[in-house]
Subunit: 370 residues, 2 copies
């Protein structure tokens, strides 16, 4: 195998493919990147859960394939000067030259590298990369890490008409984002569940650009195509929460507030809570005001946050972290909290515009003295 | 104890005093900050090695003293809004109010807090903070971490005439910085050794400003005064290396190079070396060129760095890290390397201007095939 390639391009490609490389594996090839030089140069990382393949523009003079340790390969290319890199291998010994620098390192056979699953296209949706990225980042935090309900360790992607809805849920809270898509191929409505770990990589691969990413639903897999890069992951099987029924939409108490102010009030009173000293966040919604308090063995904290609306003295407890996660993710300066009783969920929505996000947080029981 | 104080000032003072607070100690008071409100408000952190005391501008209405856990106290003040803080204690229960926020936490008696050592002034030198800071940061890396020679776990401060020289040495390398001082009180020449741990905090306390810091030599302690803050540490006792005799100044081979280019060449070939796979950096100084190479089980790396001067083919091995530390610290775009044989030390100096720094690195033996 022999090719020449611009340093910056190769560096970016290694960094992308490395996202799917196992840092430590019992199969050494999985700690490596598969290089395939044919009609183009392809770099692949695959940890048996998520696979990422990216194509680099290179001048290939001798085709071939091999596997190189991802960490060392990446570090070498990163530290080379900004110039054309010449890559040449013979019997798995690789010679890398650039400027006045030269490396000789060992690679292994590409035969030990597992094959990426092939995806039979069923349905495809197209959506700008930046939009897909924000939808993922604003829902991913609510994905469950509890393996006893595997289906909820991923996010539901639901395409219907011109709209994509992404939903994550972990039993205590729910995060929903909805945005228009650019176009669709296949059925009018379809849905599938993508593992959270794969989405976390899709988020990083997507740029802050308007160009479309395509999301392809296969029979057992899902594929994301972002520029010259594609990511493939197994779909999660099982019955995802019927989220529409789970969200109360007729909560009588509606209160509006500044997202940042709410967040800093909660953040402050949370100082008294630690992993060792857990305690619910006590909220009392009065007229145009939210009184927050917490109490643990460390001491107590009290805060007042101005709001618009009357809670009539409703007292409700929350897990402080869940409420903060939702407010941090909410892409809006002002949010509306919809509440009913002290034992029913709180729904968080944008005050203005389309309902392109919805967060739901379940309350926790308050004991006297907390 | 009762006082009011600006949030930003109190936050800065806690952060400064916290530098000398033990993160974990068998004496709980050492995990705290001593607050003393009298004619002024003083905050003290003391880990029995280094003590830091800082004075905050506050409106004291009730004098008193107590100890508060540094981490929690710091976090609470940091998260309060930018406003006036009211601090009030009664029976070691502290009430902290600011804006709409209120905390009640527990403190302990100041009697459990150890007293800072008192320093009898012997000699004092005055030097701009920014200059002191760079002198420390450019020599501290060469302080020994080997407790078997305690004297070398600190840096030598040597004041003579109008000059301060700071020297660190660890048996394999030496770092020296020399700068003029502003003024001096006491003897014409004096010297003392300051623990590396204390210097690392002095470096952080000094601002990037021209105002003088004062460095006070006491009988058994040394004190640094920086603005409203003072740091006290025990002097290290013992015989510091007679560094003047240790530095060869008549090395016949003199070569000049670009600091950054040298550094990146060494950095690149170092990729082949790891903690598990150690190997010396092989350097061959030829006419206007330095050939660098390393070889381990991972592979080999070769680099060429242009230089000015003729090394006549001198071959010499170095610990790559030691050479990089010196080049990273060197405050000059171009450096001169002074060499003699493959088994004698390399001296690194500025090409231009005063000799305000000097680094020395001892060679390591090269084996065939390395």
């Amino acid at each position: 195998m022999k090719f020449t390639c611009e340093k910056a391009l190769l560096q970016a490609a290694i960094s992308t493919a490395s996202r799917a490389v196992s840092p430590k594996s019992s199969i050494p090839a999985l700690e490596g990147i598969l290089l395939e030089a044919g009609s183009d140069l392809r770099l692949t990382g695959y940890n048996l859960e998520t696979g990422i393949r990216t194509i680099v523009s290179a001048d290939i003079t001798e085709p071939g394939s091999m596997v190189l340790g991802a960490r060392l390969f990446g570090e070498i290319i990163r530290k080379l000067p900004d110039d054309i890199i010449t890559f040449q291998s013979a019997n798995y010994t690789v010679n890398i030259k650039c400027g006045m620098s030269e490396f000789n390192i060992m690679g292994t056979s590409s035969e030990e590298f597992p094959e990426l699953p092939s995806v039979e296209y069923q349905n495809t949706l197209f959506i700008p990369q930046s939009r897909l990225r924000s939808m993922i980042s604003q829902t991913l935090f609510a994905v469950s890490d509890n393996e006893s309900r595997p289906i909820h360790t991923g996010s539901l992607f639901e395409a219907e008409g011109d709209t994509l809805t992404v939903v994550s849920v972990d039993g205590y809270r729910l995060a929903l984002r909805r945005e228009p898509i650019d176009k669709k191929e296949g059925a009018d409505a379809f849905s599938f569940v993508v593992p959270g770990a794969a989405l976390s990589e899709v988020e990083k691969i997507c740029g802050d650009v308007d160009e479309d990413a395509s999301v392809i639903q296969g029979a057992r897999h899902v594929m994301f195509k972002v520029g010259n890069t594609m990511l493939v992951a197994r779909r999660l099987e099982g019955e995802f929460l019927a989220y529409r029924q789970a969200i109360p939409r007729n909560n009588p108490i509606r209160i509006e507030g500044d997202t940042r102010m709410l967040l800093s009030s909660i953040d402050r009173v949370s100082l008294i809570i630690s992993d060792k000293l857990k305690s619910p966040l006590r909220c009392i919604f009065d007229e145009n005001v939210l009184r927050l308090s917490t109490k643990t063995a460390i001491g107590d904290a009290n805060d007042i946050c101005p709001l618009n609306g009357n809670g009539g003295g409703l007292e409700i407890g929350f897990n402080n972290k869940y409420l903060m996660d939702a407010l941090k993710a909410a892409p809006a300066d002002r949010v509306r909290l919809e509440l009913s009783t002290g034992v029913s969920p709180c729904v968080i929505l944008p005050v203005e515009g389309e309902e392109n996000f919805l967060y739901m947080v379940l309350p926790v029981r308050l004991k006297a003295g907390e």
